[in-house]
């Protein structure tokens, strides 16, 4: 009578300890969340994935930015705005009582405060000096686990890959010249996207060439004066919306702009915005927009 329970308890202890040690690696055991957990997050990229897999989202930061910069997929109507991404309203978070806070490495300095409200899981995706795509896939799978929607997450990844495959043959007309994606910051400066950014990842997967020959920072963009566009030769230049209102009039009168090879060749087009720090829905949006792009005669 005395030996048996002890033995069982020892075995139980061992297996318990093992499970505990493996918890961070084994998917299902680690979440410890309720059936349909309610998430809050400051990051629009994570929100894109959560919405796409149908997870329950109660709060998001910077909601007014969504329709201008993130756009897709449509944000559910009842999601509460949490304020800015770097300072989410803590009292409001406390009142919302989320099950999990999906954070980014930029918020590590307030992690101890967020943890008072709910468990925090941080998702390093961008600014690691590498392509964000593998991190996006990992995050998608992890969000699937956390929300109990593994199948939806797998399907999101598969659908994205299928879209890349299906779109690749449709884009031959974009392979005659390299492409350059940029935002106008003001009338004299642009932000040009390249390696370390999801925009580069999409170009790579579609066998398209990026025409920006120089370095980009950890987030995958370079800030430059317009005169530096001399370096891109005769690429297609795709200008992301929104463009400051005085840019076009000013460029029209600028001899430098007018003499740039791609302007001379008429290879400048506006392009609807794609969230540069986005996740898979941003990639599919960009792919679809590329296939729909009207190039006209040039």
């Amino acid at each position: 009578m005395s030996g048996k329970p002890r033995e069982i308890s020892r075995r139980a202890f061992t297996s318990f300890a093992l499970a505990g040690a493996l918890a961070p690696f084994s998917a299902k055991a680690s979440t410890g969340l309720p059936q349909d957990p309610r998430f809050v997050t400051p990051d629009h990229g994570l929100v894109q994935t959560l919405v796409a897999i149908g997870a329950d989202l109660s709060g998001v930061a910077q909601i007014p930015n969504w329709d201008v910069w993130t756009i897709e997929p449509a944000l559910p109507k009842d999601v509460v705005n949490l304020g800015t991404a770097q300072e989410m309203n803590l009292e409001l978070l406390q009142r919302l009582q989320p099950d999990l806070i999906l954070s980014t490495p930029y918020l590590e300095n307030v992690r101890h405060q967020l943890e008072r409200i709910a468990p925090v899981e941080s998702f390093p995706i961008h600014a690691l000096g590498t392509s964000p795509y593998p991190n996006i896939l990992a995050a998608t799978r992890r969000l699937g686990e956390l929300s109990g929607r593994e199948a939806a997450a797998k399907e999101l990844i598969a659908a994205t890959e299928r879209l890349f495959e299906a779109s690749r043959p449709k884009l031959t007309r974009l392979r005659t010249h390299p492409l350059v994606f940029l935002h106008f910051i003001d009338t004299r400066h642009v932000r040009i996207y390249g390696p370390n950014c999801i925009i580069q990842d999409v170009l790579d997967r579609l066998d398209l060439q990026n025409g920006w020959p120089e370095m980009t920072n950890g987030w995958g963009f370079a800030t430059a004066g317009i005169e530096r566009l001399v370096d891109i030769g005769d690429a297609w230049v795709l200008v992301f919306d929104p463009v400051p209102p005085d840019v076009e009039a000013l460029l029209a009168g600028s001899p430098l702009w007018q003499n740039l090879p791609f302007v001379q060749a008429g290879r400048v087009r506006r392009f609807p915005n794609v969230l540069a720090f986005g996740t898979l829905p941003a990639a599919t949006r960009m792919t679809r927009l590329l296939t729909e792009l009207e190039l006209g005669h040039a």
Binding site: N81, E87, E91, E108, M215, W219, S254
Partner: protein, 661 residues
């Protein structure tokens, strides 16, 4: 010994040579390659190198000295009229006005920018300086009045635009570049617009040289029958115009306006005429040399480097080295001497302020907003989970407000300059620098790493400051210049990073705006503890500082150990600033404004002013913190910014009411 004009000629040649070397090594090779034929006549579209040279590099080469000269000249004018070596184009809020106008236009009326970005920015500048002129006209443009109202208007407007930037960082990302002054050009038009404007201003400044020189003599000038107010207004008007035109063309290149006249004075330009000339030249050469070197550097580094901020990074150490050569000039006109101030007993001021502070504390603890944004009174069980968010913030805000105000009184008394706020010590710039280094070097730094970084930065800056003062005894404007040079250097480095679009910069921007967001029980306890520890020593220190108020020579004759008192007081001010910046971020406007409110409320002696300012500062910060987290719910506005938005008008009302009485 060379004569003044001879010496100035020598320096002028030296500066010009420096700029020419930079130009030759950057543009020389490509200009020779291109040859005259390809640089003149109609540009051939295929000849992209020639196009680049003609429509980007050459206009940029023309723009740099023009902007530099305009800002140097503006700085010399400001410093002459305001008789304050710290006066610069940013003193009058010109840049802040421009920035706010552009930010507002981007957010609410983009069509206005489409019409003319230039004029929007100019209108903002005119609006800001208009308010300053309106306020200081009542005081006959006396330096102290102009400086105070300029600082307040400037702080107020830039607090507003920082708030907009924090809330709309995507739309307003261009403001970062604007704020760090990029000279990048694609056209001759901006230069063609700016040249005649600057030329007219320079001509007008030339006409004012004689009467403005007489202004130096102040009271004597009145005897000579000069219309002092009119001359001051004219001088300020020209300086404002020069700044506004430059800012609307290239953005903020703030540091030149401060440094160029200081460098001119340091290398021996004694008369106003030579200072005006040399400051313009120094400004032109410094900016050109910097911008040319930058172009070479960014070709190699592949990084975007804005000229305005980099000029400050390079120029600040030069200023630092030249400080010892600065003549111990008449310094700033002091407050009490110019504005006759009433006296009131401490109790009559402190009583109401204490009651106010208590009320504010209660409001901040019990009132909030719920999920749907309705105002609610939280009591009992619903208050419990919220207390952990509300109390530490209120306590930290109150303590930091008190500490900064005490530091502010000490500094303003010690340095006898109403512009001396805790940030002129460069201590919180040091903390910011520490933060920046940690942010850039550590992946995903946590609370502890960031706080330690900030602490190390603050202490290093404080050490540097004490070292530089010990070496060249504390003579008002020298100490100030050392602090300002340090602060400028560090903040310029920060703005280089923000201009590259690095998203981590937003974290720093929030911190610089004075955010109580990260305050928790630990930091609140530390801030409160420091406040309680220093309280008993304050009456003693105040008596010592009062001893110095007669001037250091007289005080020394009366047996005061002047240097020791100065060193202790300054170290204390630095420590207080450091502690509060670790707790609630960097914006120390409260340290400028609370002492002024206390003084204008009638607290003239040092200890009453310290006590009054501490309570006023604490009340302001508690109010600012409460409003910051509720008024624009769910967005949080940094308490530091709101303290400027609340405190500025209060001080203005105090100033104006007294004038009427």
């Amino acid at each position: 010994m060379l004569s003044e004009s001879r010496q100035i000629q020598l320096w002028a040649v030296l500066f010009a040579t420096l700029a020419l070397i930079a130009i030759a090594s950057n543009l020389g090779p490509s200009v020779t390659d291109l040859g005259i034929a390809r640089l003149t006549g109609t540009p051939a579209p295929q000849d992209i190198d020639a196009v680049l040279m003609r429509f980007s590099l050459l206009p940029r080469l023309a723009m740099a000295p023009l902007c530099g000269a305009a800002l140097g000249m503006a700085g010399a004018l400001f410093q002459q009229v305001l008789r304050n070596p710290l006066a610069s184009p940013s003193t009058l809020g010109v840049e802040a006005g421009s920035g706010l106008a552009i930010a507002l236009a981007i957010l609410f009326l983009p069509a206005l920018l489409g019409w003319s970005r230039d004029l929007v920015s100019l209108a903002g500048a005119v609006f800001a300086s208009g308010i300053v002129f309106f306020l200081s006209r009542k005081f006959a443009f006396r330096p102290i009045a102009v400086v105070l109202s300029g600082l307040i208007v400037g702080f107020y407007l830039s607090a507003l635009s920082s708030t907009f930037i924090l809330l709309n960082d995507y739309q307003l990302s261009g403001m970062f570049i604007w704020g760090s002054g990029s000279l990048s050009q694609q056209d001759w038009r901006p230069f063609r617009d700016l040249l005649p404007r600057v030329a007219i201003c320079a001509l007008a400044a030339g006409l004012l040289v004689r009467p403005m020189t007489a202004l130096q003599l102040d009271e004597t000038a009145r005897g000579l029958g000069l219309r002092i107010a009119a001359i001051r207004a004219a001088g300020l008007g020209i300086a404002v115009a020069l700044t506004a035109f430059t800012v609307s063309a290239v953005g903020v290149i703030g540091f030149l306006g401060l440094a160029a006249p200081a460098i001119a004075r340091a290398v021996g330009a004694r008369s106003f005429r030579s200072r005006l000339f040399l400051a313009s030249l120094v400004g032109a050469c410094l900016l050109t040399a910097t911008d040319q070197s930058l172009q070479m550097l960014s070709k190699v580094a592949g990084m975007f480097l804005p000229a305005g901020a980099v000029t400050a990074v390079l120029g600040a150490p030069v200023l630092f080295l030249l400080i010892r050569k600065l003549p111990v000039s008449p310094g700033a006109a002091t407050g009490a001497a110019v504005l006759s101030l009433a006296r009131r007993p401490l109790v009559r001021v402190l009583g109401p302020v204490c009651i106010l502070l208590l009320c504010l504390f209660l409001i901040a603890t019990f009132i909030g907003r719920d999920e749907s944004g309705h105002w609610v009174l939280d009591l009992g069980a619903s208050l419990d989970p919220l207390l952990v968010w509300r109390l530490p913030r209120s306590i930290a805000a109150a303590a930091a407000g008190a500490l900064l105000s005490i530091a502010g009184v000490i500094l303003q008394r010690l340095l006898r300059n109403p512009m001396a706020s805790p940030e002129v010590l460069g201590v919180n710039a040091g903390a910011g620098m520490g933060l920046l280094v940690v942010l850039l070097c550590v992946t995903a730094p946590g609370h502890f790493a960031l706080t330690s970084g900030a602490a190390i930065g603050a202490l290093t800056a404080l050490g540097l400051l004490i070292f530089s003062i010990r070496k060249s005894s504390l003579s008002g404007n020298r100490a100030l210049m050392a602090g300002v040079a340090l602060a400028t250097f560090l903040f310029a480095l920060l703005s280089v990073v923000t201009a590259t679009g690095d998203p981590r910069a937003l974290l720093l921007l929030t911190w610089m705006a004075g955010s109580t967001y990260t305050a928790d029980m630990t930091s609140a306890a530390i801030l409160m503890g420091v406040t309680l520890v220093i309280l008993p020593g304050l009456p003693l220190l105040a008596r010592q500082i009062d001893l110095l108020s007669v001037g250091s020579d007289l005080a020394r004759a009366a047996g005061a150990r002047v240097e020791r008192i100065q060193l202790i007081a300054l170290t204390l001010a630095g420590l207080l600033t450091a502690v509060s910046s670790l707790g609630i971020g960097a914006l120390s406007f409260i340290g400028l404004i609370a002492p002024q409110i206390a003084r204008h409320a009638g607290l003239q002696r040092c200890f009453p002013q310290i006590a009054g300012a501490a309570m006023i500062g604490a009340s302001l910060m508690v109010a600012a913190d409460f409003l910051g987290r509720t008024i624009y719910f769910p967005w949080q506005l940094p308490a530091g910014l709101l303290s400027a938005l609340i405190g500025g008008p209060i001080l203005m009302i105090v100033l104006l009411c007294k004038k009427k009485a």
